[in-house]
Amino acid sequence: MSTVQRNMSLTGEPPKTLNAVQKFATILGMFGLAILLLAAFNINFPNKALWLAISLLSISGGIILFAKGAYANELEGIKNHGVWFKSVSSRGFLGWLAGIALTGFYIILYFYAEFLGLNANGANTGVISLFDPLSKILSGNPASQWFVYGTLYTIAIFAFGIKFIWKYRHNRYERIRTMSVMFFQTAFAFLIPEFMARLNSSEAYNLPYYDLKSVWPLNYYLFDSYSLDGLLSSGNLGLYMLLFGVASIFIITPILTYKYGKRWYCSWVCGCGGLAETAGDPFRQLSDKSMFAWKVERWVVHSVLVFAVVMTTALVSTYLGNDPNDYWLTRDVFLIGVAVFLTLIFAGIWFFKRAALNKDARYGAAGYFIIIIALIGIHYGSNTENIFIFEASELRQWYGFIIGAVFSGVIGTGFYPIFGNRVWCRFGCPMAAILGIQQRLFSRFRITTNGGQCISCGNCSTYCEMGIDVRSYAQKGENIIRASCVGCGICSAVCPRGVLKLENGPLEGRIDGNQVLLGNDVDLMAMVNKN
């Protein structure tokens, strides 16, 4: 196939070029970033509060002004003009540059926080010290690298959220959804934990950082011994928070997912999803839609889930085993309980939903079930200090390193401009895996295909951040019910023919849909469907 020689001019041309407003916005935003960078290189700013305010306002202002330049003079509608011409959104030079910069930032953040000015003994320096004034206002404590990260993260969701709303202002679903992620990030992930930290100045409280909307197993540190110690030593409030954490995954999550699909979490509440949907939106078209990628996705994400379950079981049983007489729940009862619970779940799926699952999903489920039971069996049969074959704390460290830091941070967010904005959610998030299994098997959510109106153009598949080949269903007139769908609604938004609609409806006929309606007479359709 011959390809067209594109103009190599660097000055740009519509739709690639930046207009005057966008150029100014870029300078403003870069100025704000430059202050942070200078601070990171230990330039000591005299009035930290002022310079921090200037920096953060410049960054937010730059992003919002950029959005104004991009969308304010356009009529409402889908305007993905030049997405595949622009360097940053088509894995060009700027895309790689952004990817490398983000990845570098995450490596420093997770593994070399001292470069940001974190000092084991003594006051902060560098960029972290720049954030001290804000941190003291909120929690009363000096900043940490996580406070810096949390602040920037919230600003990103807030400012890029405004950009997203501007871009999709004709679409009320997108507007409301984005306001929801902006709210949950600002209130639940950022402000409430800081205020909780303020409570800790009292003797009665010893609360760990706890983002209440972050549900286990995404929040894998909830059952760490320090976290459990903290919660259990913080009176009724701590106990309620722990109970809420347990109820989140076992009661609240299943109910909401049954009613609305996993989107209630992944694209309305979750912080990872929030960043992906706002700052990550320009990269959604970069996700891999191939059948191969789908296979890899299913193996990897469910493996992470198994890892998370094994690790957490090990942690909790160690915790309970330390002082056998401290808790009403003993380690043995806990382990038997886990085994019984998992057995019931798998037996239930096997019995009721076997037909709905693909062959390999069945193999996978059965295989993992056997592994978990076997591991628990090994432990239960032996009386050594070790949990399973590893020490629980070692397992936890490896999980934190591989999944928590490298997968969700360095790869998941750092590689936005290379692999798309949902790499972590699609391949790595154990919470998404649980919600996905439920969405696939037991939920009212589906994306309805509108009869025979699909023209196979491919906009839906291209702009699906989860790499679902939406078109392959739409052109057959089938509903889309995929474990990975986060319900962002963009497939429906970009469809030029009004073919897709996110809906909650009865379970009956949800997957097969009604009789495939492609516009032919009924006899033919009966014959086509027979095969």
């Binding site: 041309e13 519509p14 739709p15 509608g77 023209i455 196979s456 609604g489 516009g519 014959m527």
Partner: protein, 434 residues
């Protein structure tokens, strides 16, 4: 093993191939001179606009064809020798078949305008047209103005495409309002305004007289017949419809009209030769449909039908209720059943028209004057459920019923404002007045 050869890898040919494969293990070969793989023709515009790359417009991954044992051949067929059941290819090669399916699509209409074959003058139908467009109009520096001749679906798409690259567009439309041979006036006029809101220089009721050349034989300007006005430009888009691409079949013995003549079984006059999609012309039109239907959906339906016939279950092409859709810049259009334009309005048909105050949403419902039966609906900026309208048309519902229950048919995304009560109120008031 019987060898089925399909000329053309568009939606019609590929659908036929897929369904023949589902029903049989016959040998299948698809020949195309256009591209190696099937792509969505309707998505060509999005490649130029930068929404997608060519690879995104391919509905099946490249391994699909080998896995399903559908052979793909990149070649141009010069001649069909039906007596020998053989195809002569442009490179001199030959290919024999047992059954031949012609799914050869269309080409852009040219009505004998002086200068219509100059460089810089082009239609927009094929992948090659897109490549030519990329050369003729890569950006607003090379292409300072574009003129588009012909106000149909391809014309407005081309206007939108050029507009995204900042190229000023003059849009010449023969009719006195955009596409009003198909759309009722209220809708057509709303689209006129929408086109102009995008800063397209829309000229209504004008015809092209000629295209002028520069010293290099490139188009440099067009002349308008009515006024003699000369409009300088660097590209002329000819989008005055398409017609079947049958030139190479002229002396083949296969009966041609405007297209390839077929019966209801999609069979041509020559045994074992069939025609489907844009290029097929029914001897007699089916219902209100035209004898040639150059529409994505009908191409697909013909492919499905013919696959049954080829696999031993001889079947008539029997399309269900008419439906179609399009998008005019930012405004989506859907239609179910028949709504005729004002200029083609049959005696028995009357219209209810509603337009939203923001001027981007409207609908028209056609009713049988005597019986009150619902005949069809056009909607703009409001998505409707195909399934519901298909059922209502089959059940022969009244327009009163349809307007009352319109909410059932709404397919807009969740949380969208709905206008059913406004529409019902307007409908009721109108009925009272009449």
């Amino acid at each position: 093993m019987e060898h089925i050869v399909i000329i053309g890898n568009g939606i019609s040919g590929v659908t036929a191939a897929r369904h023949i494969r589902k029903l049989s293990d016959k040998r299948i070969t698809i020949i195309s001179a256009e591209t190696d793989h099937f792509f969505s023709r309707t998505a060509l515009m999005y490649i130029y606009m930068g929404h997608m790359k060519y690879e995104h417009t391919k509905p099946y991954e490249d391994w699909f064809w080998e896995k399903n044992k559908i052979e793909l051949k990149r070649a141009f067929v010069k001649q069909v020798m039906h007596a020998e059941k053989e195809l002569i290819l442009e490179d001199g090669g030959k290919l024999s078949y047992d059954k031949l399916i012609l799914a050869i699509g269309s080409k852009s209409n040219k009505f004998g305008w002086p200068g219509q074959d100059l460089k810089g003058v082009q239609g927009l139908y094929s992948y090659q047209d897109l490549e030519t467009l990329e050369q003729n109009a890569p950006n607003k520096k090379v292409c300072k103005r574009a003129v588009i001749v012909g106000g149909g679906l391809i014309g407005i798409e081309l206007a939108e495409m050029l507009h995204t690259r900042g190229i000023p567009v003059t849009f010449l439309v023969r009719e006195d309002s955009f596409w009003n041979v198909v759309l009722p006036n209220g809708e057509s006029e709303m689209i006129n305004r929408h086109i102009r809101n995008h800063h397209i220089d829309l000229r209504l009721g004008v015809n092209l007289k000629e295209i002028l050349a520069d010293e290099h034989g490139r188009a440099r300007a067009v002349v308008i017949a009515e006024t003699g006005e000369e409009i300088p430009c660097d590209i002329v888009g000819l989008t005055a419809g398409v017609s079947p691409n049958t030139d190479f079949l002229k002396d083949s013995g296969i009966e041609l009209g405007r297209g390839i003549k077929v019966n209801r079984y999609l069979e041509t006059n020559v045994p074992d030769v069939y025609a489907i999609g844009d290029c097929a012309e029914q001897h007699e039109a089916i219902g209100n449909r035209r004898p040639i239907e150059a529409v994505w959906y009908t191409g697909r339906m013909m492919g499905e039908t013919l696959a049954q016939t080829i696999c031993g279950n001889r079947m008539q092409y029997n399309p269900g209720h008419w439906f179609n859709s399009a998008k005019f810049f930012d405004i989506e259009y859907q239609t179910y059943g028949w709504v005729n334009s004002d200029e083609r309005l049959p005696e028995y048909e009357e219209h209810f028209h509603w337009i939203h105050e923001d001027d981007t949403k409207c609908l028209t419902i056609a009713t049988h004057k005597e019986t009150g039966k619902f005949l069809g609906i056009n909607t703009f900026g409001i998505r409707m459920r195909h399934e519901v309208f298909d059922a209502w048309l089959t059940e022969e519902r009244s327009t009163d019923f349809v307007v009352q229950d319109l909410a059932m048919a709404n397919f807009d995304p969740e949380f969208y404002k709905s206008f059913e009560s406004q529409i019902l109120e307007a409908y009721t008031n109108q009925t009272v007045k009449a």
